[in-house]
Each structure stands twice: as structure tokens, then as C-alpha cells.
Assembly symmetry: C2
Homo-oligomer: 118 residues x 2
DNA sequence: TCCTTAGTTCAAAGGTTATTGAACAATTGG
DNA sequence: CCAATTGTTCAATAACCTTTGAACTAAGGA
């Protein structure tokens, strides 16, 4: 873990909610939840935003404590901080993801290129 | 119900999350959840923000579909739209409120003047 | 009718957010 | 070493958010 992350107890509910309130970031989190346990690099999200913009949104998610980013080579391996989020806000992440999955106004996550590699 | 409200299926998850991501609005929702069933007028929230500012935040909550505002005389009676939120996003509201209650960084809700009248 | 109470609307200010392209750094493979 | 790959930083822009005070509307009571 190379980049600055908040500790579990520094994670703030209003900030988490505000960060998840952006459609691009919510899509990133849904994507991560689908592939839970598998660290993904930024390029997996290039269909959601430009490279520059992704860097911005991924930093927001990391700073809020929603994701963990580890530098490996020239890549960043990104994972959901489910353990810390569940400890801090039990049930919240699951109900947000379930709500997103049930919201027909949001694009379905996990089509075509999700399966190109594991 | 006099003011414009979204229908249940117009309620958008990202908008709800973004709206709840503001500390003042989150406090209002916690307050409403504590007094669930009892319609509150705006003056009940004057310890959270100025009258003008409250008008702004309550409009945001109403437009997002989080609250219902009914005009009665010169008052607005405000209630949580728990029925619609639960139908649309099961468990979300409860986990947000529980998370807020468990977040020691947020001020405790429902002290002193909550009991002045029912 | 006049005043008070309850809340909204308006315009302005100041701040933050999202997005972009260009330039940059760092690692890795040839 | 050179070049490609991955991702970040910077500056700029446009949009949106929050907060404020002053002015306003609408209802209710004396």
C-alpha cells in the first residue's frame, strides 16, 4: 500500500455517501464488488471515464476509504475496502450495491469485457 | 401534498446518496427517523441551519424523494418517505441511519429540545 | 385591518466538483 | 539505452453547491 489511505476509524459516513453519490464512482464500486477479491487495475475502468478522469475518481474513492490502491510496477491494484466498511458501517455497502443493481435507471454492470480475464 | 415531489420510481440512487452526503441533511434525516410518523415543521430544525439555508436543504431532500413536504397553513409538515425508499432501495435507509448513529464523529441527534413537544 | 408567524425566493459571493488536454514520472520489455 | 505502457499532476474551465441577507408571500390571530 503506497498511497495515502484513511484508517478504518477515520472513514466518515457523509464523505462515503457523497463519494458514492457520483454515478461514475458508483459504477466503479459495483464493478469492484462483482470481482470482489480480485485486484483490478485502472485500465479495467476505461469504459467509464477518460484516463485522467479515472485517476481523479479513484483518488476520491481511496481518500474516502472506499477503496485500497496498491502500486505494483506501473499499475495500481484496486480493491474494495469491504472489511473496513462493513466494520464501520454494517450493511451499508451491501444495501448500496443491491440498490444500484435494482435501479433500472443505472446501466447494468459486468457485461462483455468483464470476462476477458480473471 | 403541495410542492413537487418525484414519484417513487423517479427516485435516483446517486441523487439520494449525494443528498445524504451533506452533514446538515443527514442530521435532518436522522431527526425525522427518530420521530418517525410525526410530521415535523421546519422550525424543528433551526438548530441545524438558518431559516433560509434550511429551506434550501429541505428542498433538496424533497426533490430527491427523501422527504415529503405538505403545506398546512403557513407551515410545512415534513415526513420521511420511508415507504417509497424502502420499496425502491430495501435496507438502505436503515443502514445509513444505523451507520450515522454509530459514527462518533457525527453529533448525537435527539437531545434536549427533541422532547419539548410530541 | 394590522401584525406576527412560517417559510420561500432572489441575487450574490465563495467554494468545491467534474472534466479535459498537455506534460510528466516510473516501470518494464526489446 | 529506447520505447511503450500505466498512471499522475497541472492548469484551465464550466458547472454546481452552500451560505448569506434582504425582500417577499401567505395564513392566522388580536
Amino acid at each position: 500500500m503506497s498511497l495515502p489511505h484513511p484508517t478504518a476509524d477515520q472513514i466518515s459516513l457523509p464523505i462515503v455517501l457523497a463519494v458514492l453519490g457520483d454515478p461514475t464512482r458508483l459504477a466503479i464500486v459495483r464493478y469492484l464488488a462483482r470481482k470482489e477479491g480480485v485486484p483490478l487495475n485502472c485500465s479495467k475502468f476505461l469504459d467509464l471515464a477518460s484516463k485522467t478522469n479515472l485517476s481523479y475518481h479513484l483518488a476520491k474513492l481511496r481518500e474516502a476509504g472506499v477503496t485500497r490502491s496498491e502500486a505494483v510496477g506501473t499499475s495500481r491494484l484496486i480493491t474494495l475496502r469491504r472489511d473496513d466498511l462493513d466494520k464501520r458501517f454494517p450493511g451499508l455497502l451491501d444495501s448500496v450495491i443491491a440498490a444500484a443493481d435494482g435501479d433500472s435507471a443505472l446501466p447494468a454492470v459486468g457485461t462483455s469485457e468483464m470476462e476477458v480475464d480473471a
